[in-house]
C-alpha cells in the first residue's frame, strides 16, 4: 500500500471536498474540514505501527518516473527524522483546523482550502527524496501561507505577508541555484541527470564548490528556520497571521529549515559541513539567536510577538544541536523540533483563545485573568513550563540532549547556550505575571468565558504528548538512532554514500 502517498494526498482530498461545497454553507464546510483533517491524522497513525526503527535506510519508498528527460522522479520515503516530523505535521494540521472553528468566519471556504493545500505541501517536503519534488513542495507551502496571513491576518497583514513572501522567496531562489549546481555537477561526473538525493550523495566535489553550495542552501534554510539575522520576517508574520497560521508556522513550517540542514546540507555536503569556519559561524549564529531571541522577547508589549521571538531562541537550540555534528546534538535537535512544535504551538493557541475573546494582543490590556479563567490559566502555565524546559516535560529532554552534544563539541558553546535557559524562564514568567496574575485590572476582561470543551480538545493531545516525551522519551531516541548515526558517520567521513540505504519496502 502506498501509505506515504495516501498520507500526502488525504489533505488534497479535503481540499477538493471544500471546493465542491458552496461557500455559503459555512457550517458544512467546517464539519467537512474537521473530518478530513482528522482523517489525515488517522491515516498517518498507520506509520506508527509499520515504521521499523531497526531499519537503517528509507522506508515505505515509492518511486515513479515523472519527467524522465530531466531525471525528475516522484520519489517518496521516510526515515526516523522525517517520520517524527510527519507525525507532528499531521497532528498539528488537525489541531489547526479544529482551533479555527469559531475564529474564522469570513471566506471560510478559501480558508480551509488554503489550510489543506499547506498541509499537503509540508508533508511533501518531509517525504520527498527527489530534490526537484522537494523544491516543488517547498514552494507550494509558500503560497497558501502568504494568503493565510494576507487575507485572514491582523491589522498589518499585508506588510507581514509580503515580507514573509519576499524573504522566503529570496532564500528559495538561492537554494535553487545550489540544487542546480549539484544537478549539473552530477551530469558532469556521471553523464546523466538526476535529482535523487541518494544519487547526488555519490558526488565528489571540490571543497570550494561544496562551500558555495552550502552557503546557497544556508540562505534558503536559515531564512526558513529562521536563524539570526534572517529572523525579522518571523515576528511580523507570526503576529499578523491567524491563530492556525501561527501555530502551523511555528510548529511545522520553521522545521522545514532545520530539516533541510539535516537532510540535505549535512549528507550532501559533508566536507563543507565540517569545515571549521562554517561550523563556527553557524554555531555562533545559533548562539546569538538563542540569547538575542530571549532578550528581545523579554521586552515585547505584544503577547503574540513575545511568543514569536521566543521561537527564534528555541530554534537557535535546534540549529546548535545540528552543528554540534554529533549523535546527541542531532538527536536532541530533532526531538527539540518536535518539542518546539508542541510547546510553542500551545503558546500560540493560548494567544488565539484570548484573542478570540478580546481582539487585542496588548499585554497591558490583561492582568488577573487567572481569576476569571482558571482552566485557561492552568493550561497556559503548563505550556509555559513545557516551553521553559521544566524536567519531566518535553522541553527539558530536548534541551538537555542538545546541550550535551554542544558541550561535547565545544565547552564554550555549551556555556553560552545554557545561559539562554536563564532568560527562557524570565520572559515567560514575566508574561504570565503580567497577564494572568494580580488583580483584574481591566473591566473588559470580566466575564470572559473559560476554556470550552472544543478548546480543551485542542490542548489535551498536545499536553499528553508533552508529558510522554518528558517522562519516557526512549522510543523517540530509538527511532532517531539509525538515521542520526548515519548522518554523523557520513559527515565525519566514516561511510561512503549509502546507495544501499534506499531499499524498497513494499507494503
Amino acid at each position: 500500500m502506498p501509505i506515504l502517498s495516501i498520507i500526502l494526498f488525504t489533505p488534497l482530498l479535503g481540499f477538493l471536498g471544500v471546493l465542491l461545497i458552496p461557500g455559503s454553507k459555512k457550517r458544512v464546510i467546517k464539519i467537512w474540514a474537521n473530518l478530513a483533517a482528522f482523517a489525515g491524522f488517522l491515516v498517518s497513525l498507520r506509520l506508527t505501527e509499520w515504521f521499523d526503527k531497526s531499519h537503517p535506510g528509507f522506508q515505505f519508498v515509492e518511486r515513479a518516473s515523472w519527467i524522465p528527460s530531466l531525471g525528475v522522479q516522484y520519489l517518496l520515503g521516510i526515515d526516523g527524522i522525517s517520520f517524527l516530523l510527519i507525525m507532528l505535521t499531521t497532528l498539528i494540521g488537525f489541531i489547526a483546523v479544529l482551533c479555527s472553528w469559531s475564529a474564522i468566519d469570513e471566506r471560510v471556504k478559501e480558508y480551509y482550502a488554503m489550510l489543506f493545500l499547506l498541509q499537503c505541501g509540508m508533508l511533501g517536503v518531509f517525504m520527498a527524496l527527489d530534490f526537484f519534488l522537494f523544491y516543488l513542495f517547498w514552494e507550494v507551502v509558500l503560497v497558501p501561507m502568504y494568503f493565510l496571513i494576507g487575507i485572514w491576518g491582523g491589522p498589518r497583514k499585508l506588510y507581514a505577508a509580503l515580507k514573509f513572501f519576499l524573504y522566503t522567496m529570496a532564500g528559495s531562489v538561492l537554494m535553487l541555484l545550489g540544487i542546480f549546481t549539484l544537478y549539473f555537477q552530477y551530469f558532469h561526473q556521471f553523464g546523466r541527470y538526476t535529482f535523487e538525493i541518494s544519487e547526488l550523495m555519490r558526488l565528489t566535489l571540490p571543497l570550494g564548490i561544496e562551500r558555495w553550495v552550502f552557503w546557497a542552501f544556508f540562505i534558503g534554510f536559515a531564512i526558513k528556520v529562521p536563524m539570526f539575522p534572517f529572523h525579522t520576517w518571523l515576528p511580523d508574520a507570526h503576529t499578523e497571521a491567524p491563530t492556525a497560521g501561527s501555530v502551523i508556522l511555528a510548529a511545522v513550517l520553521l522545521k522545514m529549515g532545520t530539516y533541510g540542514f539535516i537532510r540535505f546540507s549535512l549528507p550532501l555536503l559533508p566536507q563543507a559541513s565540517i569545515d571549521h569556519t562554517i561550523v563556527t559561524i553557524l554555531a555562533v549564529l545559533s548562539l546569538i539567536g538563542i540569547l538575542y531571541g530571549a532578550l528581545v522577547s523579554l521586552m515585547q508589549q505584544d503577547w503574540k510577538k513575545l511568543v514569536a521571538y521566543s521561537s527564534v531562541s528555541h530554534l537557535g537550540f535546534c540549529t546548535l544541536g545540528i552543528f554540534s555534528l554529533n549523535h546527541a546534538g542531532l538527536a536532541g535537535s530533532v526531538i527539540q523540533q518536535v518539542n518546539h512544535g508542541i510547546s510553542t504551538g500551545m503558546l500560540f493557541l493560548i494567544v488565539g483563545v484570548i484573542y478570540e475573546r478580546r481582539h487585542t494582543r496588548e499585554i497591558s490590556e490583561y492582568g488577573g485573568l487567572a481569576h476569571i479563567m482558571p482552566q485557561f490559566a492552568f493550561v497556559f502555565a503548563f505550556a509555559m513550563l513545557s516551553s521553559a524546559g521544566l524536567p519531566l516535560l518535553n522541553g527539558f529532554v530536548g534541551e538537555f540532549t542538545i546541550l550535551q552534544g554542544a558541550f561535547a563539541a565545544s565547552k564554550v558553546w555549551g556555556a553560552f547556550a545554557v545561559l539562554g535557559i536563564i532568560f527562557g524562564a524570565a520572559y515567560l514568567l514575566w508574561l504570565y505575571q503580567r497577564t494572568m496574575l494580580g488583580e483584574v485590572t481591566n473591566e473588559k476582561n470580566r466575564g470572559l468565558r473559560d476554556l470550552t470543551p472544543r478548546e480543551w480538545a485542542v490542548f489535551l493531545p498536545l499536553m499528553a504528548w508533552a508529558v510522554w516525551i518528558g517522562v519516557y522519551p526512549k522510543p523517540y531516541f530509538d527511532i532517531l538512532d539509525k538515521p542520526v548515526t548515519q548522518i554523523v558517520e557520513r559527515v565525519h567521513g566514516k561511510t561512503q554514500p549509502v546507495e544501499a540505504s534506499l531499499t524498497e519496502v513494499a507494503r
Partner: protein, 622 residues
C-alpha cells in the same frame, strides 16, 4: 526490590487527586488526601529504611532508561538510598507531615472550595514533596536536577500563592530567576561531569573520582565543584545569590517553614555533601565553599538584627544558618553539615510555625513593633517558640547546640579564624532571635488585635517540634553517617564548647538588655551609628545594586539596542530599503503586479526558467 518509587509516588498521587478533583471536594477531603499521602510516604520511608538497614552502601533500584542517545549518553530513571539519603528522607517526610497537618489548620480560612485557594495550596505542597523526594532519592545527577528544578517550580508557585499581590508574584519570579542563575552553574557542572566521567550515576562518578591524574583533579574537578557550588548557592541562598529567600516570605507561613527553612533550601547542602567524593579532590573549591558559607552567615546575621518583620528576621536567620552548613562542608565536616540540616529543620520549622501561630493570633500582623506582651495570651505558642529560640542560640544540650558545636569544632580544626568568626555570628544569632522573642512576648502589647491561642492542629505540631528542638540532637547523625561521609575531625576541646555557649548566652543577655531592661537603648545605638545602621537595615543595598548593575542594563539594552536598534533599525531597515528600491523600479513595472495569482505563478515560473538557464550556462561551462 523495596519499591523505593512508592516514596515519591504517594505525594504525587495526592497532588493529582487534589489537583484534578480538589475543586469539588470539601476541605476535609482535601486535607485527608494531602496529609494522608505524606504520612503514607513517611511510613514507607520508615519501613523501607528498616528493611534495608544497615545501609552501609548505596542501594539502587533501576526502573527504566530515561534519556539515551547513541552509545555515549544513557541516563536511567534510578532511585537509591544510603545513610545520607536516609537522614534527608526522614527529615523531609517527617517534618513534611507535621507541616502538612499544621497547614490544614493555618489555611482553614482560605476562601474555598470554589475559590480554589485551599485545594490549590495543598496540591502544590504535595507536588513539592514529590519533587523533593525525587531530589533526595535520585541515583544520578540528572535526576537530582529534575527534583532540583521541580522544587524550584513549587517554590515559585507557593511564594506567589497569593497571586493577587504584586509583591508576591514579583518575589516568585525573583526566586525562580535567581535560582536559574544557580542552575546555570549546576547544569554546566553536570555537563563537565559527563564529559569527564562518561556517566552521571553517583556510583560510577565517585568510583572514578579517586583515580584521576593530579592535573585533572586540579583543573576539571575544581571547576566542576565550583560550578556545583554556584548551583548550591542559588538553591540554598548563599552569597551572592541569597537575595531571593527573604522576599520568598511572601508565601504562606507553612511554606516558609517547609520549603524555605526545613527542606528545599537545604538541598544545596545535601548536593554538596552528596558530591563529597568530588569536593575532597578539590581543596580550592572547598575553601571557597567554607568562605562563602562563613561570609553568608555573618552578613545575614547582621541584617537579621535590624529587621522588624518577624518572618524576615527568621528568613535572614535561615540564610545565616545555611551558611554554617556550608562552612561545615567546606572544612570537610560534611556530616556536621547534615547534622545541622536536621536540627535546623526542627528548630527553624518551629520558629516559622510559631511565628505563623502569632500572626494567626494577631489577624495577620507581622511587624514586631506592633506586638509585645503576648506571653500570657498565647502561652503554648510562647513556650514552643522559647524552645526553638534556646535551640538556635546554642543553649547546652539542645539540638542546635549539638550540631553547631560540631561545626565550630571542625572549623577550628581547619582555621581558628573561621572558628572565631563563627562564634561571633553565633552571638549575633542568639541576639536577633531573642530580640524577636522579647519584642513579641514581653513588654506590653502594642497592637490592636484580640490575640487568641491557635487550635490543636496548629499547637500539636508545634509541641512535637519543640520536643525535637530540645532533644533532637541526641540522634547522633555524624556517627550514623561515618560509613558514607567519613569521620569528622577528632579532638573535642572543652574550651571551644564553653566559648561558643558563652557567645550564645551573651547574645541572649544583650537582647534582654536592649529590649526588656532598657528599651530606649536600640534607638540610641541606631542614632549613634546612623550610617552603619542604615546600611544594614537596607540589607547593604544589594538588591538595589543588582538592579542598577544587572537588571537595568539587560532590560534597556534589550529594548533599545537589540530590538528597536538592531531588529527594527538595522535588519528591517535594510529589508524595507530593498523594498522601496524595488517599489521604485516596480512603479515602472506596475502592469506586472495585477494581483492575480495566475500572473504571479507565471512570473515565478519565468524566473525559475531564467535561473535554470543561467545555471545551466555557468554549470555547463565547468
Amino acid at each position: 526490590m523495596h519499591q523505593l518509587w512508592l516514596i515519591p509516588a504517594f505525594p504525587l498521587l495526592g497532588f493529582l487527586i487534589n489537583g484534578i478533583f480538589g475543586k469539588k471536594f470539601s476541605k476535609r477531603a482535601v486535607s485527608l488526601f494531602a496529609v494522608g499521602s505524606v504520612l503514607l510516604s513517611f511510613l514507607w520511608v520508615v519501613k523501607t529504611l528498616m528493611a534495608i538497614s544497615p545501609l552501609e552502601t548505596l542501594y539502587t533500584e533501576h526502573y527504566f532508561t530515561w534519556i539515551a542517545s547513541g552509545a555515549a549518553l544513557n541516563i536511567g530513571f534510578d532511585l537509591s538510598v544510603d545513610r545520607l539519603t536516609s537522614v534527608m528522607l526522614l527529615v523531609v517526610t517527617g517534618i513534611g507531615s507535621l507541616i502538612h497537618i499544621y497547614a490544614t489548620g493555618y489555611m482553614a480560612h482560605e476562601p474555598g472550595p470554589n475559590h480554589g485557594g485551599y485545594y490549590r495550596f495543598f496540591s502544590y505542597l504535595n507536588l513539592f514533596m514529590f519533587f523533593m523526594l525525587i531530589l533526595v532519592l535520585a541515583a544520578n545527577y540528572l535526576l537530582l536536577f529534575v527534583g532540583w528544578e521541580g522544587v524550584g517550580l513549587c517554590s515559585y508557585l507557593l511564594i506567589g500563592f497569593y497571586f493577587v499581590k504584586k509583591s508576591a508574584t514579583n518575589a516568585g519570579i525573583k526566586a525562580f530567576v535567581v535560582n536559574r542563575i544557580g542552575d546555570f552553574g549546576f547544569s554546566l557542572a553536570i555537563f563537565l561531569i559527563f564529559i569527564q566521567f562518561g556517566s552521571l550515576d553517583f556510583q560510577k562518578v565517585f568510583a572514578q573520582a579517586g583515580g584521576l591524574a593530579d592535573e585533572v583533579q586540579a583543573g576539571v574537578i575544581t571547576a566542576t565543584c565550583l560550578l556545583l557550588m554556584v548551583g548550591a548557592a542559588g538553591k540554598s541562598a548563599q552569597v551572592p545569590l541569597y537575595v531571593w529567600l527573604p522576599d520568598a516570605m511572601e508565601g504562606p507561613t507553612p511554606v516558609s517553614a517547609l520549603i524555605h527553612a526545613a527542606t528545599m533550601v537545604t538541598a544545596g547542602v545535601y548536593m554538596v555533601a552528596r558530591s563529597a567524593p568530588l569536593f575532597n579532590h578539590a581543596p580550592i573549591a572547598m575553601e571557597v565553599v567554607a568562605v562563602i558559607g562563613l561570609l553568608t552567615a555573618v552578613m545575614a546575621a547582621t541584617i537579621g538584627m535590624t529587621q522588624n518583620d518577624i518572618k524576615k528576621v527568621y528568613a535572614y536567620s535561615t540564610v545565616s544558618q545555611l551558611g554554617y552548613m556550608f562552612l561545615a562542608c567546606g572544612v570537610g565536616a560534611y556530616s556536621a553539615g547534615i547534622y545541622h540540616v536536621m536540627t535546623h529543620a526542627f528548630f527553624k520549622a518551629l520558629l516559622f510555625l510559631g511565628a505563623g501561630s502569632v500572626i494567626h493570633a494577631l489577624q495577620g500582623e507581622q511587624d514586631l513593633r506592633n506586638m509585645g506582651g503576648l506571653r500570657s495570651k498565647i502561652p503554648v505558642t510562647f513556650l514552643t517558640l522559647l524552645c526553638a529560640s534556646l535551640a538556635i542560640a546554642g543553649f547546652p544540650y539542645t539540638s542546635g547546640f549539638m550540631s553547631k558545636d560540631e561545626i565550630l569544632v571542625a572549623a577550628h580544626h581547619h582555621s581558628p579564624a573561621m572558628f572565631w568568626i563563627g562564634v561571633i555570628t553565633a552571638s549575633m544569632t542568639a541576639f536577633y532571635v531573642w530580640r524577636a522573642l522579647f519584642l513579641c512576648f514581653f513588654g506590653r502589647y502594642r497592637g490592636s488585635a484580640h490575640p487568641h491561642e491557635s487550635p490543636l492542629v496548629i499547637t500539636l505540631p508545634l509541641g512535637v517540634l519543640a520536643l525535637l528542638s530540645i532533644l533532637g540532637g541526641f540522634f547522633r547523625v555524624p556517627v550514623w553517617l561515618e560509613p558514607v561521609l567519613g569521620k569528622a575531625p577528632e579532638g573535642h576541646d572543652p574550651a571551644l564548647v564553653i566559648i561558643s555557649v558563652a557567645a550564645g548566652l551573651i547574645g541572649i543577655f544583650l537582647a534582654w538588655l536592649f529590649y526588656v531592661a532598657k528599651p530606649g537603648l536600640p534607638d540610641t545605638f541606631a542614632r549613634a551609628l546612623k550610617g552603619l545602621y542604615t546600611l544594614v537595615y537596607n540589607k547593604y543595598f544589594v538588591d538595589e545594586a543588582y538592579d542598577a548593575v544587572i537588571i537595568r542594563p539587560v532590560v534597556d539594552g534589550s529594548r533599545t539596542v537589540l530590538w528597536k536598534g538592531f531588529d527594527v533599525g538595522v535588519v528591517d531597515g535594510i529589508v524595507n530599503g530593498v523594498g522601496s528600491v524595488s517599489r521604485g523600479v516596480g512603479g515602472i513595472l506596475r502592469t506586472l503586479q495585477g494581483g492575480s495569482i495566475r500572473n504571479y505563478a507565471a512570473l515565478t515560473l519565468l524566473g525559475a526558467v531564467l535561473v535554470l538557464a543561467a545555471v545551466a550556462f555557468t554549470g555547463g561551462a565547468q
